[in-house]
């Protein structure tokens, strides 16, 4: 799918900070990206890079205190979500924007049946009565491929397997026909075989309803299979963004290159898998200038002095490939 002209969701310079004992943690520090209708945007990055906090910022569910979205705009269908009343925001959550999480084992309420949990969402947003809502819940369970949904609807989460629970989460998220589905590491806690099924399910539902998907993951393989466009995040910032084929064919940022190199699928037999040295810096003490410089082989004085802006890569502009590095020409040689 090509990038459409009017985005469904647009993040403009979003900043979400946490205020703790160690000072200000800039978990999300000036993130901008857009998702068009029907598009899948993959957001990739290591743990702690701010990708999940960005998603929670969109839903305005960053735990506060200590967290706060201090700046930026989150435009959903042209409306700035950050400016909405809490009541208006509640009408959007679960209805226009739905979310699924990493741990289906704990994300469902253990003391209510799965049917009840779907019914709650449907009744909240669609004003259906109990009977209709239950019918809708069964329909949704069937849609996500749960066998004998008429019986499963009355079961508790602990009676289902991990994959089934994630399907229930998806059924719950899809129950009000959202325009945007935020999937925060939806396959991380699942078996590899189940992972593929869940991703296929999300893709199939997307084709059917035309919704957009924001797929957050640390797994580049997942992105390669499902996303149209990719954002690579590092230390609270977007360091590279590109259409998916482009990113895998011609990565531009040293960090992206490092990530791709460390994929086991691309490793040569008999050789040690390359890794990126070091760890993501603590969000209260990011390095000056380029935040990746402490782990980058190209780093020099300029990197510490000035923060590189996100700039278009290569000759053909307009395909949306951009990266934030002072030495893009050299990085491509890596």
């Amino acid at each position: 799918m090509t990038a459409p002209n009017k985005p469904l969701l647009e993040l403009r310079d979003v900043r979400t900070y946490f205020y703790g004992d160690e000072g200000e943690a800039r978990a999300v520090d000036g993130v901008s990206y857009t998702i068009g209708p029907g598009q899948t945007l993959g957001v990739v990055g290591e743990s702690g890079c701010g990708k999940s906090v960005t998603a929670l910022s969109i839903m305005r569910l960053v735990p506060s205190p200590p967290g706060k979205t201090v700046a930026g705009q989150i435009l959903f269908e042209g409306r700035d979500l950050l400016a909405l009343e809490e009541r208006e925001m509640r009408a959007i959550r679960g209805n226009d924007i739905a979310m699924i999480f990493q741990e289906p084992a704990t994300a469902l309420n253990p003391v209510y049946t799965v049917g009840n949990q779907i019914v709650e969402a449907v009744r909240l947003h669609q004003g259906l009565d109990r009977e209709q809502a239950r019918a809708r819940a069964i329909e949704m369970l069937k849609l996500v491929g749960i066998p004998s949904p008429e019986e499963r609807v009355d079961e508790y989460p602990h009676q289902l397997s991990g994959g089934m629970r994630q399907r229930v989460m998806i059924a719950l998220a899809m129950s009000c026909d959202p325009k945007l589905l935020i999937a925060d590491e939806p396959t991380t806690a699942l078996d590899v075989t189940v992972q593929a099924q869940i991703l296929e399910l999300i893709s199939a539902l997307q084709k059917r309803t035309g919704m957009s998907v924001l797929l957050i993951t640390h797994d580049l393989g997942v992105v390669a299979e499902t996303a149209d466009h990719v954002c690579v995040m590092y230390a609270g910032k977007v360091v590279e963004t590109a259409p998916v084929e482009r990113l895998f064919a011609r990565p531009a940022h040293p960090y992206t290159i490092g990530l791709l190199r460390s994929l086991p699928e691309l490793a040569r037999p008999g050789e040690k898998l390359p890794t990126i040295e070091g760890v993501v810096p603590n969000a209260t003490r990011f390095p000056s200038g380029c935040r990746f410089r402490t782990r980058c082989s190209l780093a020099r004085d300029l990197c510490a002095e000035r923060e590189p802006p996100l700039e278009p890569v290569g000759g053909d502009e307009g395909d949306g490939h951009a990266a934030a590095c002072h030495f893009l020409e050299e990085a491509i040689e890596l």
Partner: protein
């Protein structure tokens, strides 16, 4: 469900038999008769008492006969301290006054504490929460006896002085259930004191439970669904929090029947605690033994009720 209950009962039965065995053995380690008749009783008095208490029988026979007493709830041995009364009658008469205090006290303190804890958790980290936690810590740091003394001074002395002689609202002696309004007169003040004392502990405990639950993933799911904060607290959080709340309430349940020794002593309420202390002081062997059996039975029943309550609230319990 019935099978589950039956299984819980069967599991607890040997425990109960063991407790009774231990209770009876413990009371017989030292010969109880000299405690009643003096150090050097006449041999014929000794023999009569031994026969009356059944101590002349082999232990197993005594055990069986006492178990029969428990099953029929008929402790027919005569009290030593209160001649003419059977041990069972003393226990039976002591239960209502105790429960007149403990039942309302437990219900009130649990209800209020859970509500306060919910408010506290709702405003977590903000001024109302900090204020409530502060008050709870102060509340639990003051001794029980201080509350009793202050309560009696202001409630039963200064207030009654104010109302004039004969119109006193609270009394601290002469417990009598035949008067109209006896409950307010004799029980309300100790109940209030009891509630205040337990509120500090309970509030802090329940608040910790709520705070823990409010950090769970399913809360975020409920938020992402678009549920309101109130709905999340009362529908999602409270039902999950019921599991530790029930545990706590159940642990305090035996207090319903053992009663508060301190309150009963200070307010001269002829309840279980008061009677038990009196029986111990008087070496009243049959009464002590009957009390021991009743307390043990109550603990066991509470245990079973706890398990059943878990199963009702938490669907995960039923499978195991």
């Amino acid at each position: 469900m019935w099978i589950y209950i039956l299984r819980r009962v069967l599991y607890n039965l040997p425990v109960f038999l063991g407790i009774i065995l231990f209770l009876m053995a413990a009371l017989r380690v030292k010969d109880p008769i000299p405690g009643m008749l003096g150090k050097f009783p006449e041999p014929e008095d000794y023999a009569r008492m031994e026969k009356a208490l059944g101590l002349d029988q082999p232990f197993l026979v005594q055990y069986a006969s006492f178990l029969a007493d428990i099953v029929t709830l008929d402790f027919d041995q005569e009290s030593y301290d209160k001649p003419g009364l059977q041990a069972g009658e003393i226990v039976k008469d002591a239960i209502p006054p105790t429960m007149a205090i403990t039942v309302p006290a437990l219900m009130l303190s649990t209800l209020i504490s859970v509500c306060v804890a919910l408010i506290s958790a709702f405003y977590r980290g903000r001024l109302p929460d900090r204020l409530l936690v502060f008050l709870a810590v102060i509340g639990m740091s003051v001794s029980f006896v201080v509350y009793i003394i202050i309560g009696q001074y202001f409630g039963a002395y200064r207030l009654n002085e104010l109302l004039g002689p004969g119109n006193g609202l609270f009394a601290i002696e002469g417990f009598d259930t035949s008067e109209p309004g006896w409950w307010v007169h004799y029980c309300l003040l100790p109940v209030l004191i009891s509630v205040i004392v337990s509120m500090g502990y309970d509030t802090r405990f329940y608040r910790a439970v709520m705070v823990e639950e409010s950090g769970k993933d399913y809360i975020v799911t409920a938020q992402a669904k678009g549920a309101s904060k109130k709905k999340i607290m009362f529908v999602h959080m409270l039902k999950n929090a019921m599991i530790p709340i029930i545990t706590r309430v159940m642990i305090t349940l035996p207090f319903l029947i053992t009663g508060s020794f301190l309150l009963e002593m200070y307010f001269n309420i002829p309840g279980m605690g008061n009677n038990l202390i009196r029986a111990i002081n008087a070496n009243d062997f049959p009464v002590i033994q009957a009390f021991g059996a009743i307390f043990a039975a109550f603990f066991i029943v509470t245990n079973i009720l706890t398990d059943v309550a878990y199963a009702l609230v938490d669907p995960r319990v039923r499978l195991s």
